[in-house]
Structures are given as C-alpha cells and as structure tokens.
Amino acid sequence: MSLPTRTAGAGRRARAALFRALAAALLVLPLAACDLLAQEPLGPAAAAGPSAAPSAGATASGTAGATPAAPTRTATPDAALPYDVRPLLKPAKKYLGVAVDGAPASMAGVDEFAGRIGKRPNIVEYYSGWGDEYDVKGVTNAWQGGALPFIAWEPYKTPLADIAAGKHDDYVKRYAAAVRNTNVPVAISFAHEFNGTWYDWGTKTTTAADFVAAYQHLHDVFTQLGVGQVIWVWSPNSINPVPTVALKPYYPGDTYVDWVGIVAYYTHLEAGTFDTLYTPTLNQIRTFTDKPWIIAETGSEPGTRKVSDIYNLAANVIKRPDCLGFIWFNLNKEVDWRIEGDPQSQNAFKQAVSDGRYSFDVKSP
C-alpha cells in the first residue's frame, strides 16, 4: 500500500515543482528577455561620455550593445589619420615665428634663438626653391621641435604660366604626395612678394592672371591628391614700395587662401611703424577678403630704431585680433636682421614677446 502513496506524493511534488518552475519562468522570462536583447538606448546619449568618441579601435568589442564595433580590418602601419589643421588656422594666441640659418634641417639655430628670447618659436620658416624636393626631415624636425613649418616656395626661373599649364605637374604631385604622406601640418606661401619687381615671378615678368592661375593650379593639384595638411598663405609684399600694383587681381579667392601673409620690414626707407608698414596694405586687402593675416617676414635694420621697432611690432600684433603673429627674419642677408649682434635688441625682443599671448603649443593650440 505504501507504493501508491509514494507515487502519489511524488506526483504532487513533481506538479508543485512544475508549477513553481512555470511561475518562475513567467516572472523571469520577461526580465531575461530584456537582458537577452542587450539593447541600450540608441544614439549619443547612450555613449559613455567622451571616452566613446576619439578612437574607433577602442570601441571594438564583442559586446557592443547599441554601439557597433568600429571596423578594425586592414589596420596598416601608415594608417595615420589626416592631420586636421583647422585648430591652427585661427588660434587664440599669437604665432611667434623665426627664420634662422640652417633650420629646420637642423634645429640648433632655433634652439639658440629660443635661448636668447626666452621663449620657443612655434613657426619655423624656410625657403624651398622650385625643383627642390619636399624636406621631409626638415618639416618633421620643426614639428617635433614644437613649430609649424612655414615654407616660402620660390618659383625661380620658372614661368608661372607654365606651372598653371601643368607643365610641372609631375614635380608638384611628387611634392604634394610627400606633404600628404608626411602628415605634418605645413604652411606654404607660393611666390611670395609677387607684387614686387625684384623676384623672377614679380610684376616685371608675370601677370596677375598668371600668378592666380599658377596658385590655383597648385592648390587644385594638392586637393586632387587629397592633401589637407597645408595652410595656404597668399603673401604679398607691403604695397608701400609698389603702390601702383593693385592686390585684388592677384587674389586667388577665399576658397584657395587660408592666411594672408604680409611681408614688410622695418627699414630706414619708411617711417617705421606698424601702421605705416602694414595698415595700408591690410586696408586694401580687407576690401576683398576677411582672411586672417600673419606677418610672413619681418625684421629691423641694425641701428638706433631697432629696439623701438621690435617693441612696436610685438605690441601691435597683440593689439590686432585678426593678426595671427609674426615671423622674424633672423638672418644676415643683404642686411643683418639678426638680434644676436645687439644685446639691446635681444633684450628688447625677449621682453616684447614675454607677453603670455605669444607662442603656444601647436600640437594643442
């Protein structure tokens, strides 16, 4: 008689267990279903703060939730992302640039200059002749040394019409590809002081149309090759020595220009103030563009005015919000523009640029 009893008891227990299991399932399944879906709210609100943004590779995981794993295939060693130069276009602080002998192939001169003025320059300008290859080592030196490379690209003995016609495209493309592959931001000023008469590409030999066409062609070739690392500098000389040459015909257009780079030196030939050197030129330029401007080359002749010229320059650059800064031509070329030969000038320079608004880290402007 006990067997049926045990069987009935076992059956009841089994039914009870089944009931409990069903009840638990009814309770748990909806919750489990939500968990199984593993879905988070879609969109930026679901992102885990700033850490979700910068690196695609960092989000690659098997449990992506609402965030798909960013593709990680074909990560090649040269897969550096194109450098975004936009933060360098209108920085909050001023550029303090310099051109010194031997730089940027060697940064020793820049280091020495920095030691003299007590501040590290953040632009290093150098001159590249037409036909010279892109100085990968030099621009890399400059960038690693905390300075934006600034190239004055000088088309000596080359008609700009030929450049515009594409006759030098092989060279230009090679140069452009090197710029792109180096992936270091660089400012390029093509055929500077085009409104003067003293260079091969000056007004004696070249029309405004040829200059514009050559400039635009260069820009287009660079764009075609996907070079986005260049800050394009349109660099006229001060109009003071060539007042009859209108600048507007030489202007390639806002889509081709990032900076206006005015070249003007403090010499005994002019009154020697910021307003007389730059303002007339700038006033004319402001009739056709609002692009920010930089003093692409400047210096002061040796003499009694040099100290005041330096103070005048530095103070007025600070005053002008649309002025990005200046590049000091610290070379002994035709005239000794350097500061190191004159302790007073050196001290004046050091004091003039000691303003905290001069120079900044170009890698995080």
Partner: protein, 613 residues
Amino acid sequence: MTSIPTPRNPLAEDAPVRVPDTGGSWFESRHSSPQQEERPGGGVRFTDHPGDDDPDEDEPGVGGPEGGGPAEEAPADGGLPDGRLPDPDGPDGSDRDRPEGPGYTLPPVPEASWTLDSGRRRSWISRALLLGILLIQTAMSVRLSNTAFQDEALYMYAGHAQLSHWLYDTPLPKDYNTYFSGAPTLYPIAAAVLENHFGMLGVRLFSLFCMLGSTALLYGFTRRLFNERVALGAAAMFAVTQSTVVLGFFATYDAPAVLLLALAIWIVVRTDRAPAFAVLLAAPFAVLAVGLKYASALYLPSLVLLAVLTGRRDKNRQPLLRGVLLAVGAGGLLWLGMTFTDVLKGVQATTTQRAHGTEPWTELARQCVEFGGLMFVTAVGGAVSYALRGRMNESPLVRTMTGPGRRRRILLGLLLTGTALLAPAYQVHLNTSVALYKHLGFGLLFAAPMAGIGLARLVGPHFRHPQLGILLWVVTLALGLSQSTWRFDTWPDSTRMTEVVRQHVTSTGRYLASADNVPVYYTSDLTLQSQWTSTYGIGYVDGAGALHTGDDGYRTAIADGWFDLVVLDGVATPDTDRVVAEAIARSPHYRLLGRIPFTHVGGTGYYRIWVKQ
C-alpha cells in the same frame, strides 16, 4: 529480397576484360550485351503516382551496366571471392589439377548495393559527403571580408533603432516601413540582438547558418524527389555558387528568407505522400520568408505548383487539393500580414512598384549568365535529360518500380528551372540590376535539383565520367570563389574613413555622406541617423523657406554651409559625388581634411572628407 547474388566485383565495372554474357542476366537476360550494359535506362516508377504516362515510354534500357551473368557464373574479371585478383604465379593460379568448376563463389552481396532503399551505410556516406560540402561552403563564405555593406549597416542600425524605440520609447529616426524591402520588425530586430551579443560577425555567421541550412534542406528535398546522388550534386552545385557564398556572409535578410523558402519546399516535398492538408505546414514558413523579404513572394506560385506536381493521387491525397490548400493558406496569411501591419508602402516602393532603372536588358542578361549561368545550364541539361529518361537509379531493381511519367517529369523540370528565371525576368522588366546577384540565388534554389540531375547524368552511371562532373563542379567552384571575392570588393573598406569621421562628429552636427548608412552605423554611439543626409536624395529648405531637391539641393546646402562634414566615396553615387565636390570647390565654408585610399573592384578609390571651417 534477400541475398541477391552479384556476378562480379562491382568495383570492376569498367574493367577492360569482360566476358560477354552468354545469355541470361541474373536479373534481366534481355539486356546483356556490353553496349546495352552502358545504358542505365529504365524508369523508377511508383505505382501510387497518377497514371499519366505509359510506363513503356520510359527508357527501355533497363538493366544497365549491372547486367552480368547469373550468380553462378564465373566472374568476368576473375576476381577472388574476397575481391582480390588471383595471383597467376601463386598456387591457385597454377593449380591445374583442380577439378572443373567455378574458381570461386561470390559471397552474397548486401542488398544495399542495389536496393533503392537507402541503407544506413549509404545514408551515412551521403551525410558525410553533405558535411564535406557544407564545410566547403563554410570555408568559402567565412573567407570573405570587408566592413559593413550599406544594406547590412542599415538593417542592423534599424534593428537597434526599433528595439530602442520599443524598450526606451526613443523616436524612430525614419519610417523604415516605407522603404525597406522586408519587414523592419523581423530580420533587423534579430540582427540587432545578435549584434548586441556577437557583433557584426555574429550576424554574418547567422546568415551562414541560414545558407548552410538551405543547402542541407536542398539536399533533403532533392533526395526525396530523386536520390542521394542527385541530392549531393544539387547541394554541391548550390553550395559554391556566387549567391550562396555571398549570402552566407552577408548580414541581410536574404539568407534567412532563402532558408525559409528551402524549408517550405522541403515540407512540400516531404508531405508528398501525406494527406493533402499536411502541405499547409509549409504556408507559415513561406509567408514568413515573404515577410522577411518581400521579393520572396515571387516564388510562392512555384511552391504551389510544386505541391501539385509532387503530390500523390489517391482518394485521400489529391495533388490539386495540395496546391489549393497551400495557395489559400499562404494567401490567407499574407492577407493577414498586409492587413495588420504597415508594410504596404514598403512592399510597393521596393518590390511591386519599384522605380524602373535604365540598365539595358543585355547588361542584365550578362550578369545573369555570369552569376548563375553555369548552374542554370546544368539545370536545363538535367531537366531535359530527366524528361527524356526518368530512371534515377542504377539498380536493376528499378524496373520493378514505376516513377513519374514523362509529362510530369517535363512539368517538374520546367517548373524548377523556369523558377530560376523569375527574378531575372522581373529585373529585366524593371531595368535594374540592384540586388540581382542575390535574387539569382533564390531561383537557383529551385533549379538546384535539376542541376543535380544534370551533374549526375554528366558523370554517368557508375561514375563512368567522373572527370566531367569534377570539371563542371570545379569550374562552378572557381566562379563562386572569384565572384564572391569580387562582390565583397565592390564596396570600400570603411575602417579608416570611420576612424576619421568619428573624430569629427558630434551629437548636434549635420553630415553628408555617400552610402551614409555606413557612417551612421559605425558612429551610432555619437550621432543619430537623422543627422545624416545621403547622396541618394535631398530635400533642403534654405533660409528663405524654399525647398531645393536633387543636385540643386546639394549645391544650395553646400553653398549655405549647411553640413559640418562631407564624405564622398565616388562609388555609391559617382554622379552626385561629382556635383557635391564641385559645389564644395566653390564654397568657402569647407576645407579638405584628407583623402583616404581604398581598393575595390574598380581599382584604387578614395574617400574624400571635407570639414567645415
């Protein structure tokens, strides 16, 4: 049916030295000449089939190569009982004192050697071969590699959006019902859940699972329709075609739709001898396939006709009734689906009233031939061969059975091969090749059994011409390999583009991109789909309230600096990309960020990325 002796070692089928029959095969003495032996004729006839044909219309060459002498005769190849050849120098071969009589006696041959009934050994060998085919299919699919195609990206993102909408009441970025070619609440949801757990690889592996299942089901229903050899041929051909390989690693609803269609076919064929109403089991799966991908509806009539043609006729099993039941069942479910869901617009926009393209029929025909031509020709060959000769087995026993008559064989061949033409015909009608490479696979699923017959007939009885079958399959394999690789290279690898874009997008920006679904998907943690505009179309309202569409819309929006970032690949919409690039070149609002190279079937291409300045 026990212990039917065999006259010789079956492995010696093509042995060059044979003793002509002296009259009287052990099973059919009329067909004993060597010439007749090569013929595998005879038809498998099932007595419960509708008697639409005279059995004698079938191939008369019954007997085939198996036609040797009676069991008592000496073996033609002089083999030993255990199958070994006698050693001419050995004691057996030199024993001239032995009395006259058979040198040996063949042991009883297992019935499975001849029987139509698949024994366990044959079944397991077939399954092992099928497993090998599935492994090859797997290898071919998983070797494919690229970042998400725009359709894959769209479906997965839509699934996340739908789930998020259900669970958290977030707004849907778009009304997916209006432009999806499948129900947005079916596959995209499954894809999103899979992706949440296993990433995109998991979703693609789900497709692989579906396509492997399709091949296995194809094997199943082809075996049911014909036999193992044909089934293996069909599976082998289907497994390596471009569409199967691609869909097997493609996170779209095509693969599950093919699987459901295959399942529906399998049920239709499997219920051939069941009461007619059993065919209704196929209806939910067929309709679900249509729900997953609306274009699957193109194959429902074929499914219904297949139900008719495969049905056995007796008082309980009416072929026509099967067809009617399936049509009504599937139609009813479809009606319910259309009535109680909101997919009609999508069905019309993507399927029934899809916008016509401009591609010439010659180009579409070229693609059809390129991607499915070989298998289709094989299927046509199989259909013709099947119509001419219905016998599917080399066993001499088949003569004792009857199979489908010629009319039914012709109809079956026409149905299965003709179904493969439905998608190409419809796309020719639409003048568009969009997704043709995928849709071909749906039709080839139907044609595959006939291709299996074609392959089997090409090889011939007893593997007489294996080299031909191998050649055909290897060519199909090679085409499948190259075409699937090519297919996965038709869109750019978006890895580096995504890395760049992720650095420049925010939750408030406005972005324009070729194939925008890809960056939408890969930046779904940073942006919403509504922030992105594609190069497929635009409706831009300017500051004055005027609406600009098409090229004018892009030009105006860019002139106004509307977008914060523009990404063009030059692949998805090259004409629009050109318009946009020209507009950017004239706009002072943008500067080129860079160019990201990629390689695809067109050579080297570039993502060009502009940012607002």
